[in-house]
């Protein structure tokens, strides 16, 4: 019977093919969508981050950036995940703080404050940043990323990470 088709009609073979393709498509979507969502969606969710405590604001006395290790906690939805980090805290005035991420904006190598040169150096591809976090040399595409700042009862907290443009205004 193979290939016997009426004009404008469907052969047996084509009919079976369509049924099987339809069944396969339904099962594929029915299984694929939950699988993809399961694997991908949690990664795209904006995590609620607690403000991370860095320490008493008065412990920052100089105008030198100071390295502070801290732990960010992603609260509830399991797994409750302590994210260990470090930041450079620069005290510019009485209640005026800047908190820099230690990861270079190029490919993420940990930057290093050089107190003599008054610059941040990245060890990987020669990125150099000034005390304000602006790119001075090397391939980094933007100024150092920063954390939101909060001072409460004399304690300094770091919030969300954000990016800045050349004039150090927040972009994202």
């Amino acid at each position: 019977m193979k290939g016997v088709a009426e004009k404008g009609g469907t052969s047996r073979r084509q009919f079976f093919n369509r049924i099987l393709t339809g069944i396969g498509g339904l099962i594929g979507v029915g299984a694929g969508a939950p699988l993809a969502g399961f694997g991908i969606l949690p990664a795209l969710k904006e995590e609620a981050l607690d403000w991370a405590r860095l320490g008493p604001a008065e412990m920052f006395v100089t105008s030198e950036p100071k390295l502070v290790p801290f732990t960010h906690v992603v609260p509830k939805p399991w797994p409750e995940e302590p994210v260990k980090h470090a930041v450079y805290v620069l005290k510019k005035g009485e209640a005026d703080f800047v908190i820099y991420d230690i990861r270079c904006t190029h490919v993420g190598c940990p930057i290093n404050w050089n107190a003599q040169a008054k610059r941040f150096f990245s060890p990987c591809h020669g990125g150099v940043f000034d005390i304000e976090g602006r790119v001075q040399a090397g391939p980094p595409p933007r100024a150092l990323d920063r954390y939101e700042v909060k001072i409460e009862n004399g304690i300094l907290y770091a919030g969300r990470l954000y990016r800045v443009d050349e004039s150090l205004r927040r972009t994202a």
Binding site: P42, A43, P110, Q136
Partner: protein
């Protein structure tokens, strides 16, 4: 006894037809040692699967336990250090052997009709092998693992359009953490090995289906330039098959070479696993600002490339070149469509490939021998303080040069970074006055200079640094 068992099995499972198709098929008489590279890759992959399954008996993929569980494997479990060494060094050896296999196939023109698909699947397999290397690198959860993954996922993040999504999906969020480790473990032990298995089967099926391509002869019939039409390929392939049937030898008689190579590789790996120590590092520390991240050696040439693309051009190094390279490799059979197979008769293809190999080896060499920037040296010095009077002597200048972190970008006699010019002989071409002026404000002396200004240095300090540099000849 064995014969009767075999007959019993064959009668029910038809095994003889399978083994005949595999072992009795004819291969070209001139198949030599270079043709063992494919089976050598297969052998090493099988070893990785076996040792990997073994390691997963004791390895615990969580940040709390990964590092300690590997310590347990290496120090306490019998044969643990040996098996881990096998897996660790085998991963590197596979890349070497697989790339050599690819180079052999390329220069012998064995990817041409009807073997285009075999080549393309081979390139995908190389991609899977590199993916296994990248995901496996995180599993020890030491500083090297952590920072290499921060760098690797940051590179993905810089990709256009999909970069942000892809990086988040790889890391499961914005940071490298618990879920990154478990995701990489999942990719490394389930997802990528599944791709590896199926692609390998397809690759082998195609090799059996098409037969092994005879090494191209330098002499013999030259394919005319005007016959670019497909039938010419078909005719050549038909003749090849015919000649193989007439003069070829059964695969069974060529197999001993593959056995010898497998034994040599196995011995080599066993010796490496016994003698070489796997470098141990501190447990992953995301707050360690003195760490210098380095990728595994086979990614070094791509990593070195990143020096050359600054600011918004960064994406050329992180995406455009790697993606173009992968696409070009994948599409080799469709880029080089002429029937000629001998490397000397494909001067363009051969020289492009040779140039590419040279560039990759050279960049790897640069990366492997790059002087390390002394990141933490200056940080150990007392900070700022009141400026002290500095004498304009080379000795004082040398101290300042080190303290100011100049060596982060400049090398002097092999010590220092490579972002700026090497200063080992700068005194030959520049005098102290020029050097002081330039250091203070490079932009004013040489517009467009990428060097940051050092206006915050005192005149005496600038003079001292210049005095030091001027005596370098």
């Amino acid at each position: 006894m064995w014969r009767r068992l075999w007959q019993w099995l064959d009668e029910r499972a038809g095994l003889a037809s399978l083994t005949d198709a595999f072992l009795e098929r004819k291969v070209p008489r001139r198949v030599g040692w270079l043709h063992t590279l494919g089976s050598a890759t297969l052998f090493l992959l099988a070893l990785q699967v076996v040792t990997g399954v073994a390691l997963s008996l004791y390895y615990v993929p969580t940040p709390d336990h990964a590092y300690e569980s590997l310590k347990y494997i290496t120090q306490t479990v019998p044969f643990g250090a040996f098996l881990r060494g096998f897996h660790r060094w085998g991963a590197s050896l596979i890349v070497v052997v697989a790339v050599l296999h690819m180079v052999r196939v390329f220069f012998m023109g064995a990817y041409k009709y009807p073997r285009e698909l075999t080549w393309a699947i081979g390139i995908l397999l190389l991609g899977v092998i590199l993916g296994l290397g990248f995901t496996g690198y995180l599993l020890p959860w030491d500083n090297r693992a952590y920072w290499a993954t921060v760098v690797g996922t940051s590179i993905v993040e810089s990709w256009p359009v999909i970069g942000g999504f892809a990086a988040r999906i790889l890391r499961v969020g914005t940071d490298v953490g618990i879920r990154t480790l478990i995701r990489f473990y999942n990719l490394h032990t389930f997802v990528l090995p599944a791709f590896l298995g199926w692609l390998t089967l397809a690759h082998l099926y195609l090799v059996l289906q098409q037969g092994i391509a005879a090494p191209p002869a330098a002499e013999g019939r030259r394919v005319s330039r005007s016959t670019l039409r497909a039938p010419d390929f078909r005719e050549a392939y038909r003749q090849e098959v015919e000649e193989k049937q007439r003069t070829g030898i059964p695969f069974y008689e060529a197999l001993w070479k593959d056995g010898v190579v497998a034994l040599v590789l196995f011995t080599l790996l066993a010796v490496m696993a016994l003698l070489l120590e796997i470098p141990t590092e501190k447990v992953a520390d995301p707050s360690d600002v003195n760490y210098l991240p380095r990728p595994e050696w086979y990614f070094l040439f791509l990593y070195e490339l990143l020096w050359y693309f600054k600011g918004p051009w960064m994406v050329v190094g992180t995406f455009v070149i790697p993606a173009a390279l992968f696409l070009a490799l994948l599409l080799v059979p469709w880029l080089d469509r002429r029937p000629e197979r001998h490397p000397l008769r494909r001067p363009l293809a051969s020289s492009v490939a040779a140039a590419g190999i040279f560039a990759a080896v050279y960049l790897t060499y640069l990366g492997a021998t790059a002087p390390l920037p002394p990141s933490a040296t200056a940080a150990a010095l007392p900070p700022g303080g009141p400026k002290v009077a500095v004498a304009a002597t080379p000795e004082a200048g040398k101290r300042l040069y080190e303290a100011q972190g100049c060596s982060a970008c400049h090398a002097i006699r092999g010590q220092g970074g490579a972002a700026g010019p090497d200063l080992s002989r700068v005194g030959r071409t520049r005098d102290a006055a020029w050097l002081a002026r330039f250091t203070r404000d490079p932009e004013a002396v040489k517009p467009g200079s990428p060097m940051p200004p050092y206006k915050d240095l005192s005149e005496a300090e600038l003079q001292a640094i210049a005095a030091y540099l001027a005596v370098l000849r």
